[in-house]
């Protein structure tokens, strides 16, 4: 059980604040670091990896600081975002180099095993300069696995992968998580986080905007206006009736086919609409929340 803790962490460059007073407790399993580009995700990961000193606060792994503590790298595997590798090496040479630098007892074997895990054995003898984006990504992951790290940090790991590679990488990370490893990956793509992260940490403009599992983040947002698409036997009359309800903020006819409703309270509206419909003999065909996805949660966080 390896735990990664960020306590009151800030990082500024001159007058620019990149990370602002962030507290996180990250345990085993997959944690998604979600935020738009430039939100400070990479700065956070750099500090988690001990590469960058926090301007204030501490980052620890099981209570030991990651900063100025090179022994910590025996526990950390880092997959950086940039594609530049030592691309004059073959994949096998590159992964083996990482194993040797980690002082793994049998670097050759460890490299082979790691390459096997990411299914790159067939291309391992080719120079990295001939690899596709997805292959580079996988060989980078292999290079981070040679020493069997308890903590795996990945910066935008799904960048440049095709859907099959992406699915494979997601399965791989899920498998590592099941082995009890602590995995943190950053992403600005919601579906990625949605699919595999047990825990989501939302970072916006250097601030820790929200934290929790997916549902918890959504619950945090229930006091904001929710959009619904409603289809019924009589949209116009239903709209008038719904407007009388305090939890409904607005209703708008979308042509003759549907009704768009904005409601204040998620729970309240779910109870109101069947009651109103039944009492007035209106048949409801469809009620679809149009912004349930993290996408809308996210844009809400960004815009607020």
């Amino acid at each position: 059980m390896t735990e990664l803790d960020l306590t009151d962490v800030s990082r500024w460059y001159g007058n620019v604040v990149a990370v602002n007073d962030v507290n996180m407790h990250i345990g085993p399993g997959i944690t998604g670091l979600l935020g738009p580009n430039g939100a400070g995700k990479s700065t956070l990961l750099s500090m988690m990896a001990g590469l960058l000193p926090p301007s204030a606060g501490t980052v620890t792994i099981d209570g030991r600081p990651t900063r100025a503590n090179i022994a910590i790298y025996r526990q950390i595997g880092l997959v950086p975002v940039q594609e530049s590798l030592y691309d004059f090496l073959t994949g096998e040479q590159f992964v083996r180099l990482n194993a040797e630098l980690q002082k793994v007892p049998q670097p050759g074997l460890a490299a082979k095993r790691a390459i096997g895990l990411v299914e790159m054995s067939d291309a391992a003898d080719r120079k990295i300069s001939t690899y596709s984006k997805g292959m580079k990504q996988r060989i980078k992951v292999a290079s981070a696995l040679t020493h069997d790290p308890a903590v795996l940090l990945l910066d935008e790991p799904f960048n440049g992968m095709d859907p099959i590679q992406r699915r494979h990488m997601m399965a791989l990370l899920t498998q590592f998580a099941e082995q009890g490893r602590t995995i943190v990956f950053s992403s600005h793509i919601l579906e990625e986080v949605e699919q595999i992260a047990r825990q989501v940490e939302v970072v916006v403009a250097g601030r820790h905007a929200a934290s929790g599992d997916f549902a918890a983040i959504r619950r945090l947002m229930t006091d904001r206006p929710n959009q619904y698409l409603v289809r019924s036997s009589d949209d116009r009359r239903l709209a008038a009736l719904l407007l009388a309800e305090p939890c409904v903020r607005g209703a708008r006819l979308r042509g003759d086919t549907a009704l768009e409703v904005e409601a204040d309270d998620f729970g309240g509206f779910a109870q109101v609409i069947p009651k109103v419909a039944r009492d007035n003999a209106i048949r409801v065909f469809e009620v679809t929340p149009t912004d349930e996805s993290l996408e809308s949660v996210f844009s809400y966080l960004v815009n607020s």
Binding site: A49, L78, Y86, L89
Partner: protein, 241 residues
């Protein structure tokens, strides 16, 4: 020193086409030396001319160019493209990383710069007047200084390749020729002084700085460059946001 980083450095330096650029320098120098010897006539080449040539072409051009190519390959490019991160996230100290790289750069400078100056010296005048030996030692001293200076520039400047090039062209080649006190702060002047102190043929002038000063200054430049680079390595982000 770290074995895997040394091996990686060798592969990086010699596994790519740019190695030929580095080899081209001494080849040109040896060819010119041979031409000078052949055109010198029956009396052989004047040791003073040989010494001048070794200082101007060897220390003035070959040594800095070889050091520049090696430093940019092993340090600048890895910093600029971020691949250094794979070395930084390992249980290896920062100074060991930079020192291992500096050793390879130094080795390349000695092999393709200083040692070839020795050979060029022998081609031109054989062992006479200690010209060849002086060139070797002067070449080593100036290589040591250049490696330190380029390493420091490589890790602290944004456009570091341009920075190193400008340092060589402006400071070492132009400013130091115009303002005499610059000799106290010039890798080229230190190397030149060592050649002039050791060789019996003094070439076209007196050594600019005392021998112990030149040697010490080069060593200080190297140590300071490595220390500064190690310091700089202590703060890296994994991507530029």
């Amino acid at each position: 020193m770290n074995g895997p980083i040394l091996r990686l450095g060798l592969r990086s330096l010699f596994g790519r086409a740019r190695a030929w650029l580095m080899i081209a320098m001494p080849v040109i120098m040896l060819a010119l030396a041979a031409v000078m010897r052949l055109t010198a006539g029956s009396g052989g080449l004047d040791p003073n001319s040989a010494e001048n040539f070794l200082r101007i072409f060897g220390i003035g051009i070959a040594v800095p160019v070889v050091a520049l190519i090696a430093t940019t390959t092993l340090i600048n490019s890895e910093f600029d493209d971020g691949s250094i991160i794979y070395l930084l996230t390992k249980p290896v100290s920062r100074v060991t990383i930079i020192a291992s790289k500096a050793v390879i750069v130094l080795g390349a400078g000695v092999l393709f710069g200083a040692a070839m100056m020795l050979v060029a010296g022998f081609i031109m005048v054989g062992g006479s007047d200690q010209v060849a030996v002086g060139a070797l030692i002067g070449g080593v001293v100036s290589t040591v200084a250049y490696v330190g200076i380029f390493t420091a520039l490589a890790t602290t400047m944004k456009r570091s390749v341009v920075g190193c090039l400008l340092f060589w062209l402006l400071w070492e080649s132009t400013v130091s020729a115009l303002f005499s006190p610059v000799k106290w702060l010039s890798a080229r002047a230190w190397g030149n002084a060592v050649v002039q102190h050791i060789a019996d043929a003094a070439g076209d002038g007196k050594p600019g700085v005392p021998l112990p000063y030149a040697v010490l200054a080069a060593i200080v430049a190297l140590a300071a460059g490595v220390a500064l680079a190690g310091q700089r390595l202590a703060s890296m982000t994994i991507s530029e946001e």
